[in-house]
């Protein structure tokens, strides 16, 4: 089983979510994070002093999938739908997980997803 984590621009979330559902990935967990990278933060002004807000709001999507095939699908879909072509579009990270359990039923592994 694989875990896919994607850091994307917040306003792209809806497109990505809709596209994931379309390819049959019907579970995901998201969180609001802040990113630091090549994308420049913006300048704010307060009482005559300017300063840069360096961390940029991003959304992290976590998806657990049972098969490599689903993983591949998810990656494709995210790449396509989170893309604006401008710096800061974000990244996708893939890693392995060893077990999944659905609390409600106690089902494990593939069945839990």
């Amino acid at each position: 089983m694989k875990k896919i984590e994607a850091i994307i621009k917040p306003f792209k979330l809806e497109d990505v979510k809709d596209a994931l559902i379309e390819v049959g990935i019907e579970g995901m967990t998201i969180s609001e994070v802040k990113g630091y990278g090549r994308q420049q933060g913006h300048t704010e002004l307060y009482r005559g002093a300017e300063y840069v807000v360096e961390f940029i709001p991003k959304v992290k999507i976590e998806i657990y999938v049972s098969t490599d095939e689903f993983a591949q699908k998810a990656i494709e879909v995210i790449k396509e739908n989170a893309l604006t072509g401008k710096i800061g579009d974000g990244k996708i990270f893939v890693s392995d997980i060893s077990n999944v359990i659905r609390i409600r039923t106690g089902e494990e592994d593939e069945e839990a997803l």
Binding site: P10, E32, H42, E44, Y46, E50, P57, V59
Partner: protein, 393 residues
Amino acid sequence: MLDNPSYIIDTFFTIFAMVLIIFMVPGFAMLEAGLVRTKNVTSVLTVNVMIYAVASMSFMLIGYEYAFGSWDHQESISKYAFFLFQMAFVGKIINIMSGGVSERSRIIPLALFTIAVGAFIYPTIVNITWGANFLDGTFLDISAMSDLAGSTVIHSTGGWALLAAIFIMGARKGKYAKNGAIKVIPASNIPLVTLGAFLLWIGWFGFNGGSVGAISSKENADAVALTIMNTNTGGLSGAIVAWALTYFRYKKFDITMILNGALGGLVAVTAGPDQFSMYVPILVGGMGGALVVLFVPLFDKLKLDDPVGALSVHLVNGIWGTLAVAIFVDSVSYWNQLKGILVVGAIVFPLSFVVIYVINKIFQLTADDEEQLVGIDEVECGMEAYPEFKRSI
């Protein structure tokens, strides 16, 4: 014994009324700051401060004399108090307009329109209704319209300006999906909306009560008290009707609609509160609330995107309220009311349209899509309204 007791008391009363109206400045500011998204709150507040400052100053320097002919046109109260009371009205027009196009307008061009309204457009309307009346004797003379505190003069005027602005500026980015579906953009801070609405409500007591013009006779004291009572009743009834209608229709209570209903009732009752008998405002204000519940989703469907419901509250009810005086007060003629509504609309709408159109062309009033996406706060103010509250997506 006092010399000039009525001068003294009416000056005091006018100052009292004016102070109540000034509570509408934070009132509008809080209402609008609560209704827009977090990313536009600072700019909406900045616009509200700008409007009070720029509109009042424009009116003081230019508009007031144009509207009333001179600083010495009356002697029954202190001329400064008279000015203050009139000045307290001006910003409202632009508040109505700016609220309705918030989340997509830039500040400098809005300031230019504010000057136009404060120095010229609004004074024109005051001139032909409550003021010097340069149309006196012409076919267009509408000074016979019965409009105590401005259902037409204030509220419709603001509403027409807003309608023109919406036609020119279009909807907020993201308000309508590609397939035309309406996307809901919820208010970000309901306590502020509620606070703002109540400050407006209280301001209305000064607005309408003060418009009676004097309290220093038994008749006037009664007229003022009746006016304030009727004003309040209009608001109560508007709230109750909006409450009942949203509940029957959706089985939920929508407080933004209820408060808009109350404001709609207040606008509706503003033209004739001194003339209505005590129970009439239940009907007038109640209808005001109903019109809001009807028109807010309607304008939404017509893609007239108005985040604060100003068209329904001020334009629709400004018209309704002005007509209502003819319906419920025998001595008031339908024709005079209708003529007033039409002449004001025929002046304000095209005038505002041209002015806003030109401002938008030259100074780009409408924020572009990218700017709307990041929010006007970042673009125009460089300052978040709540930087330490984590934003939920």
